[in-house]
Symmetry: C2
Subunit: 162 residues, 2 copies
């Protein structure tokens, strides 16, 4: 178990790397049957004549796998709770037997003005494959609690926004 | 089967409504076990003392359900293929037995300059619950092919960006 992270533990520029996740053809098809039943996510043969020219994972599947990796690599106290996402891009198709991992960089953090017991932290998450190619990228804003007992020590300026 | 939509069929202001989707506690927990294993998505009792004060669906689950509804309600020729998302917000928790549906509005469409056989269409998707409350909202950019035989009839100006 990693130690839980509070707002005062986070600073712009910090990097968090996840473990690796193997994406199988079986998992690509199972996810697609439930949430994104289109030929390029369901069947190798049918996928050949499509935009993707072969079986590829649903972008929502890649997003969900990214979340699974973030839950382990960003042990925020109170849980990993997203308020929103920006600049979400799918950069390359994810293929069967790709191994994905995620690199998260803290961009900014600030104490909430309306709820000073918590802060809002902005991160950029890049999901990469086994060749180190970025296949997905987005910016998230997450809710991070203040450490019990240190609330008063933090001011909005102590956690600068670049 | 709905007729497939090409670039020339789409205009800013058009609305597409999806069917409804019932979200069960069982499905919330099953998705969370695989992709977002946090107490507020996994267990009613454990969820009570968290930020969400009760079991709620993973935001990635809500996104995946939204995609499932879009596949049926936006029958784009060649499939529903996203290039990216903007301004993604989770507005309210999704609870067990909520019924979700999606309203999509075309914001703009333009012919691709580098690939004139296709266009890029921007839409705002609102996911709502049974009370009509928006629980998630985002803007997508999707790739839409030109109708065979009408490529030359369309210019970048014929599909205006508001």
């Amino acid at each position: 178990m990693l130690e839980k992270l509070y707002l005062s533990d986070l600073e712009p520029g910090q990097l968090y790397k996840s473990r690796e996740y193997l994406v199988t053809a079986e998992e690509i098809k199972t996810f697609a049957q439930q949430f994104d039943p289109q030929p390029f996510h369901l069947d190798e043969e049918a996928a050949k004549s499509t935009f993707f020219q072969g079986l590829s994972a649903s972008g929502w599947h890649t997003g969900a796998i990214t979340m699974r990796l973030l839950v382990d690599s960003l042990p925020i106290a109170g849980g990993l709770i997203g308020a929103g996402l920006e600049d979400f891009r799918w950069l390359k198709p994810v293929r069967p037997n790709d191994t994905l991992w995620v690199e998260s960089e803290i961009l900014s953090c600030r104490v909430s003005q309306s709820k000073p017991h918590q802060g809002l932290v902005k991160l950029r998450h890049k999901t990469l494959n086994q060749l180190g190619e970025p296949i997905q990228s987005f910016i998230s804003t997450i809710v991070v609690p203040q450490k019990p007992g240190v609330q008063k020590a933090l001011s909005p300026e102590s956690c600068p926004t670049p």
